[in-house]
């Protein structure tokens, strides 16, 4: 479990992280969202023990990270631009990782080679961007990490590679209860694999959600009544958004699904539909409630 308390970090006069709190449970995939400059990379580097925070504390399984070898042996950080020693081949990099990380699994490494189908004796720098990205995952997953921290891992990759990498991650999460934190500025890139989402804006979380809760909690409904809508109808729920097209009302409402069904059926509407909501829509409406325009924060 990753536990982050009141982290602050400044570069010079610029305060990048302002009291960030975060808890990530074992075996979950946490999506860290935010626009460029929101502080995502800084937070990830603090989590990985690269930067030292100015304030606050971090613990991974009750142990600190910074300068803490035992924690770092179980944690891999993959930056947005994966780094390899110049002129190293995949094999040489693998030898390096194998010595540094005690849990290195050579069989896994060879097995992944069959899946990825990359030449182990080729120099990594001669690979394309997508292939380099795959190499970084290949090496990282061969160290059998308990924690994988990924900075913009899908940025600029084509759909095929993206899919491949997602499968690799999901596989390890399912099999070994690996914990993943993945950052992105694009919700759509990560919504299919994350179970938790946090939105960082100007160095602070403005929203943190469990996706399963989120999807079962917010409903988009279309109702029409013969007469005017009976006003007290939604008093029991939070209405996030509401518009009228003639006699048809489009309402985004927060609350338990059965309860919503029950209340509306009782009012005897002419039409009552529950429409599917994309994750993006949910965020848009949620954020409207807190006073942010999400389009400015994401995508």
């Amino acid at each position: 479990m990753i536990h982050v308390q009141e982290i602050g970090k400044a570069f010079g006069k610029k305060q990048v992280l302002k009291g960030v709190n975060l808890t990530v449970n074992k075996g979950s995939i946490y999506g860290l969202l935010g626009s460029n400059g929101a502080g995502k990379t800084t937070l990830l580097k603090v989590l990985s023990g690269i930067f030292k925070q100015d304030k606050g504390s971090i613990s991974i399984d009750q142990a600190p990270v910074f300068e803490h070898v035992l924690t770092k042996q179980r944690l891999i950080f993959i930056p947005d631009q994966p780094y390899f020693f110049s002129h190293y081949t995949v094999k040489q990099m693998a030898e390096f990782y194998a010595e540094i990380y005690p849990e290195w699994n050579q069989q896994r490494f060879l097995h992944l080679q069959q899946i990825l189908n990359l030449d182990i004796n080729a120099k990594v720098h001669q690979f394309s961007k997508g292939m380099q990205r795959q190499v970084s995952f290949w090496l990282a997953l061969s160290t059998m990490p308990d924690y994988l921290i990924l900075d913009e891992p899908f940025d600029g990759l084509d759909a095929v590679v993206r899919k491949k990498i997602k499968n690799l991650i999901i596989n390890d999460v399912a099999e070994r209860a690996m914990t993943v934190i993945v950052s992105s500025h694009n919700l759509r890139e990560v919504e299919d694999i994350c179970d938790h989402i946090g939105i960082l804006h100007h160095g602070q979380f403005i929203l943190e959600k469990d996706l399963d809760d989120l999807k079962s909690d917010i409903h988009k409904i279309q109702v029409a009544f013969k007469h005017d809508i009976p006003e007290p109808l939604f008093d029991a729920f939070t209405v996030l958004h509401r518009e009228e097209r003639g006699s048809v009302h489009l309402i985004i409402v927060k609350g338990n699904q059965d309860q919503v069904d029950q209340v509306i059926e009782q009012a005897n509407p002419l039409v009552y539909d529950r429409l599917p909501l994309t994750l993006e829509e949910i965020f848009v409406y949620e954020m409207e409630g807190v006073g942010y325009a999400i389009e400015n924060i994401l995508v």
């Binding site: 570069f11 010079g12 580097k45 990985s48 023990g49 690269i50 930067f51 030292k52 300068e67 070898v69 035992l70 924690t71 770092k72 042996q73 891999i76 950080f77 930056p79 631009q81 780094y83 020693f85 002129h87 030898e95 390096f96 010595e99 540094i100 990380y101 005690p102 849990e103």
Partner: protein, 650 residues
Amino acid sequence: MRSKTSWYNHEMMKQNFRQVGWISLVYFVTILLAVVLNILMKLDIEDAYYDIYFEQPLFQFSEVIQILMLFAAPVFMAMFILRYLHQKDASDFIHSLPITRSKLFWQQIGFGLVALWLPIVLNGILLGIIYNFLDVSHFFTINHLFYWLSLTIIILSFVFSVSIVIGMITGISIIQGIFTYVFLFFPVGFTTLVIFNLNFGMIGIPESYFIDDRIAHFSPITDLGNLFMFDKATTFKLVAYIVLTVILILFALLLYRKRPVEAASQAIAFKKLKPIFIYSFTFCFTLIGGFYFGFIQQAYQWIIIGYVIFSLIGYFVSQMIVQKSWRVFTTWREYGYFIIGFTCLILVILFDLTGFENRIPKTENIESVYVIDDMYGFVEREQLYGEEQGFTTLDDIEAVQKLHQELIDQADRGNFLYADRMGLTIRYQLKNGRTFVREYYITGDVADYPLLHNLMQTETYKKYSEPIFRIDEASAYKLTFTNNYDYKQLVISDREQVVELINRYREDILNLPIQEGGFMTEAEIHLSNQGSIYLNLTPKYEGVISWLEQEGLYNQVMLTIDDIETVIFAKFTEDYYNYSDEELFERVLPEQDKMTITDDDQLEFILDHMYGEYDEEEYMAAIYLKGNNFPYVFFSDSENVPSFVYEYFN
């Protein structure tokens, strides 16, 4: 869990080897060619004439290449071994690995040091093999080899450790490289600048005492001469270098632990150092400005202009380095603080708030005192013959104090501006073991300073100023008199005669006024262990002359009227600079402007009384010696010219 506790990572070493191995290789090959093969090549030439100037001959083989490598290799090594700290992606990667900073640090430092030592050790082994199997005794001994090995390793390690500290402070490799040399040179350069600039305003600052004597030892770059050419007194220095190296490396580790990883590619890694850097950089540049304009223009208004221009340059360059941007011309605040501070400093010095200028040690605190008019020679004599005996009697000390007060009273801030000034140093040895030194400039003649003139006539002064009193006569094996460029030469190699002459010289010098210059005859005393000393011989050296006469050697040493064909006098003219001596006296000067002397009495008078060169050139004379086609020319002023010459021309 498999746990690895090895103290080093094999793979990290492999990566280091790929990154810096070439430096070791280049260094090894360079030394192999420059030293080892050089010796072998010289061995091959049967009767190779090889002059060893250095006490440490191994440094003399391709010394320029050796010195260049001695200072280039460790800096390159440090730059590449810490390269991972200066590249953002590499820095993030390495620091995300499960290795502590201490371990990383020791691995990198250890690797760098070994990679520097190895090329030298391997070459040392080769030299050892050569030493054992070939006769190289005329090149070097086994002690020389060990000194060469240890000194090279010590200097390499020291320069490397300086560069490592700089590498921790900065986040840019090129700045690490440049500033390593700046810092290596800093102690010498900064002291020179400070003293030179203080000299503008602080009367009595012993400029030459500091600059000539002491500070060369402060940096290995300026100290190389001492390290290579002599082998005395270096043990302390070598130990000091080792201790400093260890301290610097530990300091670098401390910095590394505090160093934020995000400092990669920033000019200065620590926030707190930025203002310190800006102010000190500006300060040094300001001093450089004063140095430059003080040297070139020698006028106060130019020195002030130099301060202003160079402080601006220094300030904006430092801002550019810190901000990594050209656009720094809007930040003036720190410059304002600097100018205020610098002005205060100047005022403190000009108003002598520290009481530096008027301080004269109290009589009861003085052990002994020297008045020195040739600081360089004095220091050299001290090095050669040991400490000299200064003035110790109460009368003498009080006379020096009076002279000191007089110098303070007549001193003017502008004195340093005169080109023809004469430096005069007063050095007190205090009873508490300290040395108190002041230096003043006097213009004009010593005769204008009666106190100084009297002190210079004392036995004490002569004994510490004239090397003849300090040499060990037992080691003198030869004395050569040379007259007028080998016109006459006499070599005396009988030891007893040499000692007799030395003693007579000592007596004569004590009896003569100090300022007697030389003319025509020079004596060289050859010493078996201390080189040679040179003395003049004029008719006033009565003891020496009478001995020569007694031995019937006078005519072999001194000029007599029998040697002289003729002497031509003339008033000094600027034509002297345009013609050769023969042309001037034989063709250019019209007959009526010349006085030709052939009269024996007059020639006798000239030989007996004219032996010096005088301050003002009013008359010139050409002496034609028998058998010589070219004249020997000397000068005189109207006071010292013989009366018959003076009357002839007036």
